[in-house]
């Protein structure tokens, strides 16, 4: 049943909120140089969670340099300043400092976790990693090779195959269709010069967000911000990425893969995160497929028919596109009945909308589960960071509950009418399904 848990964890902004009095106090910190951070000060544990984001991620890789952002981000922690890669990793390990920098689709994000007693060292190494990484030849070659291996492992997985082909259909020539780990050729062609340029372009002060939670005061934090990020250039240089234009017609694609089961992914366009109807869409999604064992799709396909171990849907809000996305896996001979049932349930939802008690139940869950998204210093820092990068406002947590409660039945029905049309669904499968027709069939995907 762990798949479901994972799905919950993956929801970026998993709804949140129970009581105004339980919302943690968020402080907005300004450094002497004008850098900003959001802080929740909490001394219950002798720990600090420090997270940051630079706008511009994998989307900024040009088509012939796919893999650039991931490689650059991974290299930041492989030696910096006077520390070569071993000395750098030794120093972090000796102080139990966990430091990771990763490239996502829209931004580079970093997480650091340290014991409060080692915070001076932790911040020193963080500053070095961001402002004077060594990008040594040996680390550069090694990580490239690791990425080649990871690409092979990844591209053999049916879940990856279906997602890759689905995104290729939806995003077409948009940078969102690119491969974060690169292609065999693009990775091979990357140079250290590329890495250095990308680092200089992307890590700057004008595209930075910082979130901190734990045993540190505002007074301590303010000067530290300059120490860590002050040496970065003032302005980033990033290509202008246009919004995604969805293809006119939905599609059905298949990647042939032998085995007993077919992995099915499906998606439709969704309203953007800043749309006033966002919470109504969350509620609609919860009722149809997002609400775990209580959702209509799970009830129909698993509980009533035993057709699958799990089916779920989710809203994904990226900068340049929003998706309603769902997945289900089932035996090859059960694909047809599963798709038919999915269509029936979805069509009924689209045609007749949601019932009042379902909407109330969704609101109960979405508001009642707020404390669950803030149960560790890391989770709180991730929330603070998302509130900044997605421009949700400092009062997001405090007002979340009333906003979800304020959604009316009419609003939900309107969203369903506009965004939950089953005719808009594109399907991407990996497997050997019986009795299903496709627009595009891939015999294999290059690894």
């Amino acid at each position: 049943m762990n798949r479901l848990i994972l799905f919950f964890l993956l929801l970026l902004l998993w709804p949140v909120h129970a009581h105004a009095e339980s919302t943690p106090v968020i402080q907005r910190i300004k450094s002497p140089k004008g850098l900003e951070a959001w802080l929740i000060e909490d001394h219950k544990l002798p720990l600090i969670a420090f997270q940051f984001a630079f706008e511009g991620g994998v989307e900024t890789d040009s088509p012939d340099k796919q893999g650039l952002s991931v490689l650059m981000a991974s290299l930041l922690t492989q030696g910096a300043g006077s520390y070569d890669e071993k000395a750098f990793q030794d120093a972090l390990a000796a102080a139990s400092i966990a430091l990771d920098v990763e490239a996502g689709r829209d931004r580079i994000t970093g997480t650091m976790k340290t014991l409060a007693r080692n915070k001076d060292e932790a911040f020193k190494f963080l500053a070095l990693a961001l402002t004077s990484p060594r990008f040594e030849q040996s680390s550069f070659v090694r990580l490239k090779r690791q990425m080649q291996t990871l690409r092979k492992i990844q591209s053999a997985k049916p879940a990856w195959m279906s997602r890759y082909t689905l995104y290729r259909h939806i995003f077409q020539a948009h940078p969102y269709s690119q491969r974060a780990l690169g292609t065999a050729q693009s990775l091979e062609a990357l140079t250290r010069e590329d890495i250095k340029t990308h680092h200089a372009n992307l890590l700057a002060r004008d595209n930075l967000s910082v979130a901190v939670v734990g045993a540190i005061t505002a007074q301590e934090l303010a000067p530290l911000l300059d120490q860590i990020f002050g040496a970065l250039p003032e302005k980033s240089t990033r290509p202008n990425i246009p919004p995604v234009v969805w293809p006119k017609a939905p599609a059905r694609t298949l990647v042939k893969r032998q085995g007993e089961q077919t992995e099915i992914l499906f998606a439709a366009p969704m309203l953007p995160r800043h749309d006033p109807d966002w919470h109504a869409a969350q509620i609609a999604n919860y009722i149809l497929g997002g609400g775990g064992f209580t959702a209509r799709l799970m009830t129909a396909l698993r509980a009533h028919q035993g057709l699958t171990y799990g089916i779920s849907t989710d809203l994904i809000a990226m900068e340049k596109a929003s998706l309603l996305i769902g997945s289900v896996a089932t035996g090859n001979t059960q694909v047809r009945p599963a798709l038919d049932l999915l269509q029936t349930v979805w069509q009924d939802f689209y045609k007749n909308g949601a019932a009042e008690p379902e909407i109330t139940a969704a609101q109960d869950f979405l508001t009642g589960s707020l404390p669950l998204s803030l149960t560790s210093t890391d989770a709180m820092a991730a929330m603070l960071l998302a509130m900044q990068t997605q421009k949700l406002g400092m009062d997001y947590l405090a007002r979340y509950k009333e906003r979800v409660r304020a959604v009316t039945k009419d609003q939900v029905q309107r969203v369903i009418q506009k965004w939950f049309d089953p005719q808009q669904l594109s399907f991407a499968m990996a497997g050997a399904p019986d009795n299903v027709t496709f627009n595009v069939v891939y015999d294999k995907i290059d690894d």
Binding site: R145, A361, L372
Partner: protein, 441 residues
């Protein structure tokens, strides 16, 4: 980043419970007259709580020819009681803003709900109800077989890594119950009847076989009172768990060479079972330290050698399973770098271990590995459910709470000589399995 990811993927395919890096949680405990043990860990970081109920029955207790029964019962526990019909359990918890699920390991079955701490009482009622009043409707039982067969396909039959992990387990454990897949064999799952499930439920689900652990923004005395109120009246015949059978596997290293066209990247795994190592002892913990020393973080000796210096592996990981009802075990795996052969890598890694054993370990590397492990105990407190998971797993495997509470001290007592001895033991261990998963037919 990569290495950790690979190690993680590998662990998932093994279907083992999480390796424990434990902590000091300051738990309070009480046992009711009906022998239900209650453990409470206070954590006031957020106004939430995790409620976990452990039953001391896992896949190793599945009767012969009925593999997967403990896991199947876990599924049926969500299928309703007289008062709480099918689907109502999940609906009630969702209405409280909670998230619930369950998992089965070789040693125990655990049910967990996370939710706002102030709403905890409802979970006590729901869990107490399904401890004694499970419906086990015949039609639901048949339907759930299809769900579990689909789950099995997803985890195992459709995944080369899943099939490989099952073969490795069989090779390693032979006739011992740890050899069988937790989810069960296909033909066994297909034969489950309502009566089989009911017998198992009535035999194993009772207060005397359960541990209730709550961690979060709670007061221990209130939790004890709630436990008394909802579980105090449940009395059920208490069977002692049947002990696991004695170790009888023939000596030797069994090879599993599994080829699958769908695999694009080969890797090797070496596994050891160590029935002669006393569980809960210093010599057992030395294997935990050895795993950290070889492959911990990006600084482990073997990781350094093969991934950084030789560039012949892109990942290397090791871990010990010392918190277990059955024998202690150890696992090491690595993925070759591009243009490197998986068999060459396996040979070189084994040779590296031999040379390390001859050369001996420096006190400094052992001290550093132990320090990292002790620090990890502090980080474990920064989680809502982790303390409950760790303490519950500890008790379910038959250990005392002090095993976890004194864990940093125990780790401290492990000497360089102990770790060296652990390495020697691996090199001469009589019960091993070596496996390679690779592409091709």
């Amino acid at each position: 980043m990569k290495r950790r990811l690979l190690a993680f993927i590998f662990l998932l395919t093994l279907l083992l419970p999480c390796p424990l890096k434990a902590a000091v949680f300051y738990p309070q405990t009480k046992t009711l007259d009906n022998e239900l043990q209650i453990v409470v860990v206070e954590n006031h970081l957020s106004p939430a709580a995790a409620f976990m109920l452990f039953y001391k029955v896992g896949a190793a207790d599945d009767p012969k020819g009925q593999t997967g029964l403990a896991h199947f019962l876990e599924h049926m526990m969500f299928k309703g009681t007289r008062d709480v019909p099918k689907g109502a359990f999940s609906a009630k918890i969702a209405a409280l803003g909670g998230q619930e699920n369950a998992y089965t390991t070789k040693d125990y079955t655990a049910y967990h709900t996370s939710l706002a701490a102030e709403r905890l009482e409802d979970i006590f009622a729901l869990e107490a109800d399904r401890m004694k009043n499970l419906l086990l409707d015949p039609q639901e039982t048949l339907r759930e077989r299809d769900v579990v067969l689909n789950e099995r396909k997803e985890r195992t039959d459709n995944s080369p890594q899943g099939i490989f992990a099952e073969k490795m387990n069989e090779a390693l454990y032979g006739a011992h119950p740890y050899a069988a897949p937790i989810i069960g064999k296909k033909q066994d799952i297909q034969n489950f009847t309502p009566q089989i499930v009911r017998d198992f439920y009535e035999r194993h689900y009772a207060p005397s076989r359960a541990i209730l652990v709550v961690s979060g923004a709670v007061q221990p005395q209130e939790i004890f009172a709630l436990a008394q109120k909802y579980f105090g009246e449940i009395s059920a015949p208490s069977f002692a768990a049947a002990p696991l059978p004695v170790w009888t596997r023939e000596k030797g290293t069994i090879a599993v060479e599994h080829k699958d066209e769908r695999v694009k990247q080969a890797f090797f795994v070496r596994r050891w079972v160590l029935p002669e190592i006393k569980v809960q002892s210093r010599e057992a913990l030395a294997f935990d330290v050895l795993a950290e020393l070889l492959a911990g973080g990006e600084v482990g000796l073997a990781f350094r050698h093969f991934v950084l210096d030789q560039n012949s592996a892109t990942s290397l990981s090791a871990s010990a399973d010392t918190l277990t009802r059955g024998p202690v075990s150890f696992v090491l795996s690595a993925t070759p770098a591009p243009d490197h052969d998986v068999r060459d890598l396996e040979r070189d890694v084994m040779r590296f271990l031999q040379e390390l054993a001859q050369k001996g370990l420096t006190a400094r590397t052992v001290v550093e590995a132990k320090q990292r492990m002790k620090d990890s105990a502090i980080f474990a407190r920064d989680r809502l459910m982790a303390p409950a998971q760790i303490l519950g797993a500890t008790l379910a495997a038959g250990y005392d709470l002090s095993f976890i509470e004194d864990w940093p001290e125990h780790i401290d007592t492990v000497t360089t000589k102990d770790v060296h001895q652990a390495l020697q033991t691996l090199l001469h261990a009589p019960y091993q399995a070596r496996g390679i998963l690779e592409g091709g037919a």
